[in-house]
Amino acid sequence: MSLKYTIAPFSAWLQAVSKPFTVPVTGGPRPGAPRYRGWHINDVEKCIGCGTCSAICQNEAIDMVPVDDPVVGDSGLRPKIDYGRCCWCALCVDVCPSGSLGMSNEYVWADTDADVFRYIPGVDEKPWDDSELGWRREEGFELVDHDRVPMGMLDPDERTQTWAEVVIGYTEEQARVEASRCVDCGLCVAACPAHMHIPDYIGAIRDGDDARAVQIIYDNNAMPEMCGKVCTRRCESVCSIGVQGDPLAIRWLKRYATERFDNLAEVLQPQVERVGEGRTVAVIGGGPSGLTVAYYLAIRGFEVTVHEALPQVGGATFFGIPRYRFPMSSLEKQVDLLKSAGVKFVLNHRVDGDELTRMLAENDAVFMGVGLMKPMALRAPGEDLPGVIPALDMLREQNLGHEVDVGEKVVVVGGGNVAIDASRISRRLGAEVTIAYRRRVVDMPADDEEIEDAEAEGVEIVTQAIPLRVEATEDGKLDFVWGPAEMVQEEEGKRPRPKLIEGVENHLVVDRVIVAIGQGPDLDWLPTEISEKICNKWGYIEVDETGMTAVEGLYAGGDLVNDTADAISAIADGLRAVNGIVDKTRAQHV
């Protein structure tokens, strides 16, 4: 060994007193660059817990953990980040549909406990929570496509000349593109009353497997083509893409998938336990809830008979919804599937109290879903004059194919979907139409798109208009007299109420006053010993968690039971009763 190497360890000590080559750090670590990708921050109020950050993370560094109770539109989960895995790529920030996730420009954090480097930004307090600097998604840069594939529709002028469907429907290419916008967060599943497997069937559409999509759709919806056309789409209202862009067109994609197949029985081969062999079930009312019960029990081996007062099943989707929104061919296709599953139909037959009692004795279960068939009355002077008609009667006559004459000028009283349907039908019948509504457009229960379509078709909406009376004019018309209302905010958080401004009267001379202010139950036919057990003070029916009423074996659902009065809620009620009846049957087998 040379002398050089022998003394080297000792000469190295000289470096301790020599001038350093590095620059000494003073005042702590240098701040990160303004757009540095440092520790995460999350605006938990803005975050909806969709989990898209977790899904995109290539290192599986993000877990979604519960921090609050889930509510519709918010899973209650928030991202927890493991910095042992995080590579600071910021894909999670760039994809975040709500825009809640960001990164601070803080990067120095030392601790002897490794577990602290897994935390929930925004929940576990950190010094950088309010950091203005750091990585944020750039304006205009989107990993998710915010723009919905537009739906083709008939021109408004053309619509009023025809009963053809207004919505044209997606092409295959359009459907694939629209489906590819889904981030698979599943918030829609919780919002859908029937909890349809939405991301799964949208994924199948995206992957080009439409048959699979229909099979998934039929997991828990026996009237999907109807829902694909007229659903109230609570799912879309919570779509995570909708926070910053257009929500996914879930309704139109369901419509696309179901319209792809003329014979649904060829596509669907349900693999379910035939637990109901040898059992019989009677369904009273062929609306969405009744048909749901009929289909899902029939494929499980139950012998099901649907009793319907009208010449066609479908309930409000048959007699209430106009054909330009939901054509007869779509309804018949769905009913054909039920027939192929073995469901029997007794049409033009109104069940009475004695028959209900008999049905309860002769069947293993009876399901009642007869809807809200009693129109609320105007209760204004002149409501009994000829020409003042309930909208429900007018819609039913029109859909039964009977001649409906509304004259040249019509006022429709109300702001729900029934009012909009009555007004758009009246336009197609050639009338000039005004809607008189007590509140503001923003308060209307009708679907926003329907309101827009009605206005595009020439329907005039007069808001804050309180009906005062109807008078007959000398030339055989009706003078609809209304007063203006002021909106009174009585209780914070509730919709304001209209209050008449006294002393002002407005006149609208028309041929018809069509009343569409609401509907209620019509259960006078029930035997008193049954109605006293199952009806509440509003005349609606109450059921338990299995869908059964206080009468053993009598189940109920639909508008008579829920307070949302839409088809998908009726379907959900039907599914609840199916589960109740199947579970009970299984228990009897044991």
């Binding site: 702001g415 509504y437 007063g483 009174v488 259960l523």
Partner: protein, 148 residues
């Protein structure tokens, strides 16, 4: 003009009569759920009676004189007769009109007297009736006029 106590007795008697009427209607109601509705209305009238009795006994503060703003819902609607097949809409309308009539009665009595104590009492009773009317108006606005 009668004494303070006599007027309260009169008001108590009115509430009792309203209670009895609702009990009678409940007894004859044929529509599903309506018996329960009228029994609830009757129970509310009984609560009103008990409140007045408590005031008479000096157990409750005096009646609130604050003016109640109603929605003016029933004034332009038709009268409904008492029938055995009354529905919920008719029941609410009937109740609103009954409360309005009670208000008119007390408001008229307040105008007919010069005694400031009695004026205060009558006006307080009148506002009580308006509160009851407002309760039914809100229910009518929510349940019957949900689509309007």
């Amino acid at each position: 003009m009668k004494s303070f106590e006599e007027i309260l007795d009169f008001a108590i008697d009115n509430e009792q009569k309203a209670h009895d009427l609702y009990m009678d209607i409940a007894e004859m109601a044929t529509r599903p759920g309506m018996r329960q509705t009228f029994l609830e209305f009757a129970a509310q009238e009984m609560q009103h009676r008990e409140r007045l009795e408590a005031i008479k006994a000096g157990k409750l503060p005096e009646l609130d004189q604050a003016r109640v703003e109603t929605l003016g819902l029933s004034e332009h609607l038709v009268d409904v007769p008492v029938e055995k097949d009354m529905d919920y809409q008719s029941a609410l309308l009937f109740a609103m009109k009954a409360e309005q009539r009670a208000y008119d009665l007390y408001a008229g009595l307040a105008k007919a007297t010069d005694d400031p104590n009695l004026v205060t009492l009558f006006e307080g009773l009148a506002q009580e009736e308006l509160k009851h009317k407002l309760h039914f108006e809100r229910e009518y606005d929510d349940v019957v006029l949900g689509d309007n």
